[in-house]
Symmetry: C2
């Protein structure tokens, strides 16, 4: 039995389970020479997938209605007619949401379950960690003693950004959506300050108080009103890494907010959209650094593992609603 | 008789003549050893002065109420007790709005009236030209064949940006506020396309039509709705030089508009606030290039010269209202 999750229809606003469909097929997959058979072990659910569910120009093409969704997956090679892979290998790549699938091996990265848990290759030593590390370094250009604000701070990327900030000697302020998350930022991830935006009336004042010397770097995972509030505290030559805008991904109208341009002019400040895949040439160096820090226990991570391939759409919805800590993965 | 223009009170919204005061004093200025006496010849009126009239943190400190306003000036040395300057020299610097003033010579740049008209040192071979050249090069990083959009295109900076764009082999689209200005963009400054935003209902569609290959560089002098519309046509890796936001400088509320963050993420695009003074180390190289192009007649410029020192506030108001072409200067 092969299970596949397809995009049944394009979500309007907040996605629901009705936008997805689980298809079960009783068939056996045969592989040709040069091919391998992959069995899915872990699936990654991420905010950027919401964008791909809409029919809009973006940095990755939209999913097609009626076709499988795809995202970062960890799979095991269960049969191989390709010399580069043998049975029992584990691989990672952007792959279809299927329990079993055929691959020619193109683009697959082998991952070693003895070096890190398999699920970590979707997180701290995978795209999540790379996004945090490369966004902060390549755009943020952090200097010791500076102040870093991170939104979506308890999320997969945000929690790593903050920890790297601390390793580099920055003052780190995290913004998250519950007291429990804010506590976690400080107790587990070493942030200096945490702000619960859901219980804070005046975000401008709260950020100003947490960052008395102003904000030099803003790592933005959420967009919307939280990011608007940060603008009022930025310093001259501030760098804003625009990595995600989860707060507006479900918008059916074009989102509006405070005009950023006057703030950019006043402060000679920079805002740059960040997509990790633009920095593929830096992946090896970044992964090495992340693995080293992980080995030295300078980095820690949280993950929420949902059991069961069929529950992937629900896991995606929960992740979008903020009902998790750290990286959300599904164990197939 | 010495005339001085002071800031009488801080403008609220659009400035009016009542915010300024002309003071006449019957006195004779005496200079000490090391000093020179300067007679104002030309005064520059620029959009950024509006920001300095408000009591807000910005990249230059606000003007003080009751004190003279200052801006770029060209003055003649009419008496000298400083070995570095002799009577008859012409100098340029940010100086007080006074007909006559004493200086110790600090920060003064000598300018040669035989190489370019004196007023041009406030424009094409002064801050205006430097702003256009350095903003386009340092942030825009133009590559032959790319598409450049310029807002405030018939203005002092915008008209130079477009001409440099053409010299560098770009497709150049200008946005301006009258049919006459749009005609000037094409006939005099060599722009490929012009859009009159005042008579265009759908700016998004107009930009899209003028830039069928998308927008690679946006040189933004105006902010507001025009800049919002440009976002919908930007290409991957677009660079947006945020040089001015004249459309919102008179706002008494915090301006709002389309959220830029989703556009930046989708396109891995960059927005950077640009202040020419951050690039002072590049001025000599840039001035040399601008003078060369001017000498080769590859660059042309328009200026509106208002006669009479007393008319400086009115000239400033007219400039802010868009009632001029090219660089606005006052002949004292």
């Amino acid at each position: 039995m092969i299970k596949t999750i397809i995009l049944k229809k394009r979500p309007v606003g907040t996605p629901t389970l009705a936008d997805f469909e689980l298809i079960k097929e009783e068939k056996e997959l045969k592989i040709e020479e040069g091919e391998i058979l992959l069995e899915t072990k872990y699936l990654s659910v991420d905010p950027y997938l919401r964008g791909r569910m809409s029919d809009a120009k973006s940095y990755v093409p939209p999913f097609e209605v009626g076709k499988p969704i795809n995202s970062g997956l960890i799979a095991e090679v269960i049969e191989s007619k390709n010399d580069n892979f043998k049975k029992g290998d584990f691989v990672s790549n952007r792959l279809d949401w299927k329990t079993v699938q055929v691959s020619k091996g193109e683009g697959l990265q082998k991952v070693d379950p003895n070096k890190a848990p398999l699920s970590a290759y979707l997180g701290i030593v995978g795209m999540t960690g790379l996004t945090a590390y490369l966004g902060l370094h390549e755009i943020g250009k952090p200097k010791k003693g500076e102040t870093l604000v991170v939104s979506g701070a308890a999320g997969a990327v945000g929690s790593v950004v903050g920890q790297i900030g601390k390793i580099l000697g920055l003052t780190v302020i995290g913004i998250a959506g519950s007291d429990e998350k804010v506590e976690l930022l400080k107790s587990e991830f070493g942030f200096d300050h945490g702000i619960n935006y859901k219980t804070t009336d005046d975000m401008k004042a709260a950020i100003n108080e947490a960052a008395p010397n102003g904000v030099d770097i803003y790592f933005d995972n959420v967009g919307g009103e939280i990011s608007d509030a940060v603008l009022f505290s930025i310093n001259k030559f501030a760098r804003m890494i625009i990595c995600g805008a989860i707060s507006v991904y479900n918008s059916t109208e074009i989102p509006t907010g405070v005009s950023v341009q006057p703030f950019l002019i006043k402060n000679s400040a920079l805002m740059q959209g960040f997509i990790v895949s633009n920095y593929a040439d830096k992946f090896p160096e970044a992964m090495k650094q992340l693995s080293t820090w992980l080995g030295e226990e300078k980095l820690t991570y949280r993950e929420t593992i949902v059991e069961g391939f069929e529950n992937t759409p629900q896991a995606f919805l929960d992740m979008m609603a903020g009902n998790k800590k750290g990286k959300m993965v599904v164990k197939a």
